[in-house]
């Protein structure tokens, strides 16, 4: 499944068809997808930094920017991505236990990757619109939890 199809299906979550077709995506492709999504969403920041650095007469600033772009940004995005997804997936464990569904952590991790698509787009929109109120910024997190609960309930209850 290509990245565009993954994106389209992620937007269709929590529909059963979208969820089950996304289950066919390998963990590697899921990681590539979220890295590219984050890169695209952070691109305006990178471009903004680049314009600021290149407009300066100081060539040292430009060199620092290139190092940041090639080394620091990818590593930082990767670290934030893995730790955030792992934490969010871990927070879902009690919910799936409560809902009595048999889902492994690795499944929750992958579901989190795809469920984050809409919240990440909303975060990006808030940044563009310069909305900084903390309570409004909770909206993407709430959407994530609602999506995950709906996705979990697509699976039948565990038989005792």
């Amino acid at each position: 499944m290509n990245l565009l199809s993954i994106f389209k299906r992620s937007l269709m979550l929590p529909k059963k068809e979208a969820l089950f077709s996304l289950n066919r995506v390998s963990m590697r492709d899921a990681m590539v997808y979220i890295i590219i999504l984050l890169f695209i969403l952070f691109l305006p920041d990178i471009v903004h930094d680049f314009i600021r650095s290149s407009s300066s007469d100081n060539s040292f600033l430009l060199e620092v920017f290139v190092v940041r772009l090639l080394v620091l940004y990818p590593l930082l995005i990767l670290f934030i991505m893995v730790s955030s997804i792992s934490l969010l997936s871990a927070l879902i464990i009690p919910i799936k236990e409560l809902l009595k569904r048999k889902l492994k952590y690795q499944q929750l991790w992958k579901m989190t990757v795809f469920a984050l698509t809409i919240p990440l787009i909303i975060i990006f929109a808030f940044r563009i619109l310069q909305i900084n109120e903390w309570y409004i910024n909770l909206l993407p997190l709430i959407i994530y939890f609602v999506l995950m609960v709906k996705m979990i309930t697509v699976y039948p209850k565990r038989k005792l």
Partner: protein
């Protein structure tokens, strides 16, 4: 419609699919694992975790792999 476990599973029996199946419809048969075609909910959770890529959707089965679907049906008495 269901998922079917094919030849690469033979003697591999990695069992990752058994762990992730949300409805516990995968069981060991003689020399491989088999999916109950009636209990399978088509969620595809098993497909992406199979280390030997032995699991295919019924619709995507090659003609030579059709007997594995019959084998699963017979194993669970669904024939």
């Amino acid at each position: 419609m269901a998922f079917v476990i094919t030849a690469p599973c033979k003697e591999e029996l990695a069992s990752e699919c058994v762990e992730v199946c949300p409805v516990d419809c995968i069981e060991p048969a003689d020399d491989q694992l088999v999916i109950d075609p009636v209990r399978c909910i088509d969620c595809a959770a098993c497909e992406s975790v199979c280390p030997v890529e032995a699991i295919f959707h019924e619709d995507d089965l090659l003609e030579e792999d059709r007997p594995y679907l019959e084998k699963a049906k017979q194993f669970f008495g669904r024939a």
